[in-house]
């Protein structure tokens, strides 16, 4: 029997001809990524007792969760990591103002290629499956082990295949598709498993849109997720890396635990919203009634890329953010920021009343740059709406696509972009 993508990559990385689900293998790591928690990794690594990491060229460190430093404690952490990076000779280090969100910076700089085994001390490391990598999140102590030995144990996951066909309705995006899937499978629906997204609707997507799927697959528990290694991906990667790019694909007779079929034209007539306080609490927008909002957040490793800023700019162009609401925009990287500046998207957004935060995770993790007060409601293009995630335990977060976030900022309530761009509705006022 043939192998799935996850099985093929784990077989290669563990020096086997083949692996089967539920086996435990020890695999060599091709790339080990950390953000600010590199400081935690550094401390664990030094406690183990070695002075030199296994391979500095296979380590990448990107500051994104707390940029620029929001406290003296963070500033001290940043400084300690900078000194460690210099002492170890780690070349792939992206400091404040040099990178952005780790899951955007790695691919933008050609660090991830098909067939690689990537680990990161961040749960959304699954994002890099959009580049054909077996890519997953691990903890900090575990990363110290990788820095020591360059290898890690993995249980070979079984694979769920999700075949998607059809054309998207206007304003419906990859975000709506993945929220729909998470709503269907549940927060534990892909626990320990690999997910392969494929089919004509996936192959027609941009790389940025595919990254939304592999990023959010984590929210149904997936260990890794993949989109196809096709011409669209090769065209994206070729200018970024001099390295040979391996075309990998699952075997036609690979075994899947289950296969799910979705027709986006039939199944996704309208935007999907993840309601408080879990990502699998998904409803179609029209089922929600009137939901007034105080804050709208456009950004994150899920939806802070150029196409996301573009659609938001299109929705808000010539309009202003509703008096009762504030719109926060966070480009995913310096590169995205610069490109959005050049193309005028940021000018349009600022003219509408948006505030632009520096590239990074922004308020998504609830640390800074847009924390919610008690009884405030936020619509966000980010990836988690857990109780208290973005501030007060009495605040509420609705997850939606960038287009819905932008439309809602204008309307002051959860709104369909079509209701804003075509026939304008009056701005919702207090009381």
């Amino acid at each position: 029997m043939g192998m799935t993508l996850a099985e093929k990559i784990l077989a290669r990385a563990s020096g086997r001809d083949r692996v089967t689900p539920d086996e435990v293998v020890v695999a060599r790591v091709d790339l080990a990524m950390s953000h600010e928690n590199a400081d935690l990794v550094r401390k664990s690594f030094l406690e183990i007792g070695l002075n030199q990491v296994w391979d500095p060229t296979r380590i990448a460190i990107i500051f994104d969760h707390r940029v620029p430093a929001e406290s003296e404690k963070t500033a001290t952490t940043h400084k300690a990591v900078r000194e460690f990076v210099a002492a170890q000779g780690i070349p792939n280090f992206y400091d404040v103002g040099r990178g952005g969100i780790c899951h955007q910076v790695l691919p933008e700089n050609g660090h991830v290629r098909p067939g690689m085994l990537v680990v990161g001390t961040d749960s959304h490391t699954t994002t890099h499956g959009a580049f054909g990598a077996f890519s997953t999140g691990i903890g900090a102590t575990e990363m110290a082990g990788v820095w020591t030995e360059g290898a890690l144990w993995f249980k070979v996951p079984s694979t769920i295949r999700i075949e998607v066909k059809g054309s998207f309705h206007q304003w419906i995006t990859a975000k709506d598709l993945i929220l729909y899937i998470i709503g269907m499978l549940g927060a534990a629906g892909a626990d320990y498993r690999a997910v392969e997204f494929d089919g004509p609707a996936i192959r027609a997507m941009s790389i940025a849109s595919r990254m939304v799927l592999t990023n959010l697959a984590m929210e149904m528990g997936a260990k890794v997720a993949f989109t196809p290694v096709d011409e669209v991906l090769l065209d994206y990667l070729r200018p970024l890396t001099p390295q040979k790019i391996h075309r990998i694909a699952p075997d036609p007779d690979a075994h899947y635990e289950r296969t799910i079929h979705i027709d986006v034209a039939r199944d996704l007539p309208e935007p999907q919203i993840a309601c408080p306080h879990s990502v699998d609490n998904v409803r179609p927008l029209s089922a929600l009634g009137e939901v007034p909002i105080d804050q709208a957040v456009l950004g994150s490793c899920t939806n802070g890329r150029l196409e996301d800023l573009e659609v938001a700019a299109r929705v808000v162009a010539g309009r202003v953010v509703c008096d009762r609401a504030r719109l926060l925009v966070i480009p995913a990287s310096q590169r995205v920021y610069l490109e959005a500046l050049r193309l005028g998207y940021l000018e349009t957004l600022v003219a509408a009343g948006a505030i632009i935060n520096p590239p990074g995770c922004g308020p998504c993790v609830g640390l800074h740059q847009g924390i919610l007060a008690a009884r405030e409601t936020c619509v966000s293009s980010t990836n988690r709406n857990f109780l208290g995630r973005m501030g007060s335990k009495d605040s509420r977060v609705y997850l939606a696509s960038p287009a819905v976030v932008a439309a809602s900022a204008i309307a002051g309530r959860l709104a369909h972009p079509a209701s804003i761009v075509h026939e304008e509705e009056p701005c919702l006022t207090e009381g």
């Binding site: 435990v24 020890v26 928690n37 935690l40 401390k43 664990s44 406690e47 183990i48 007792g49 070695l50 969760h65 406290s71 404690k73 963070t74 952490t77 001390t121 961040d122 749960s123 490391t125 999140g137 691990i138 903890g139 900090a140 102590t141 575990e142 110290a144 082990g145 020591t148 030995e149 144990w153 927060a187 534990a188 626990d191 320990y192 929210e219 528990g221 260990k223 879990s278 699998d280 993790v365 609830g366 640390l367 988690r384 857990f386 109780l387 208290g388 995630r389 335990k393």
Partner: protein, 166 residues
């Protein structure tokens, strides 16, 4: 690590996420005591202190889902909790717990049978949990992984391995 863990259980439902276990704003801390002070505070003031009077957490499916933050396992240890039994775990929490030396057991049958305040007895070597006169077997971890847990975590395991090599 204790071979047998006996004590009173607190029972949670499904999908307890790592943001609820320890909010993102406390991730600048790494010590057990400090993290323990803020563990589960999203569920109400003093909720963490309530948990301190229990020994073992029992939960439904997908315990520890969401963020890969290792501090979720550390914060639970900071409350004095000695083991977590769940119907299933999110994979990052599962790995972090092993690497931090926090015993974890997947045993859906026990979870269905147990109520808050009950006493249970987890025998890690024998792979069974005793509760109300009945025994609930659970599958053992692979030997290589169980060794990490038995030594008290990945740090100890790697230190030992390096010392062996000289």
């Amino acid at each position: 690590m204790e071979a047998v863990i006996q004590g009173r259980v607190y029972k949670f439902g499904d999908n307890i996420n790592s943001d609820v276990i320890i909010p993102g704003r406390y991730l600048i801390y790494i010590d057990k005591e400090r993290l323990g002070q803020h563990a589960f505070e999203m569920l109400g003031e003093g909720f963490g202190n309530t948990l301190r009077s229990f020994d073992i957490l029992v939960a439904g499916r997908n315990f520890g889902c969401g963020s890969a933050r290792e501090q979720a396992a550390t914060a639970i240890q900071g409350l004095g909790i000695r083991a977590v039994v769940a119907a299933s775990f999110a994979r990052t929490f599962y790995r972090n717990a092993i690497n931090d030396g926090l015993p974890i057991v997947e045993c859906p049958a026990l979870v269905a049978a147990v109520a808050e305040g009950d006493s249970i007895r987890i025998d890690l070597a024998a792979g069974k949990i005793g509760h109300a006169g009945k025994e609930y077997p659970f599958p053992q971890m692979p030997d290589s992984v169980r060794k990490i847990l038995e030594l008290g975590g990945l740090g100890e395991y790697l230190r030992g391995k390096l010392a062996e090599r000289g």
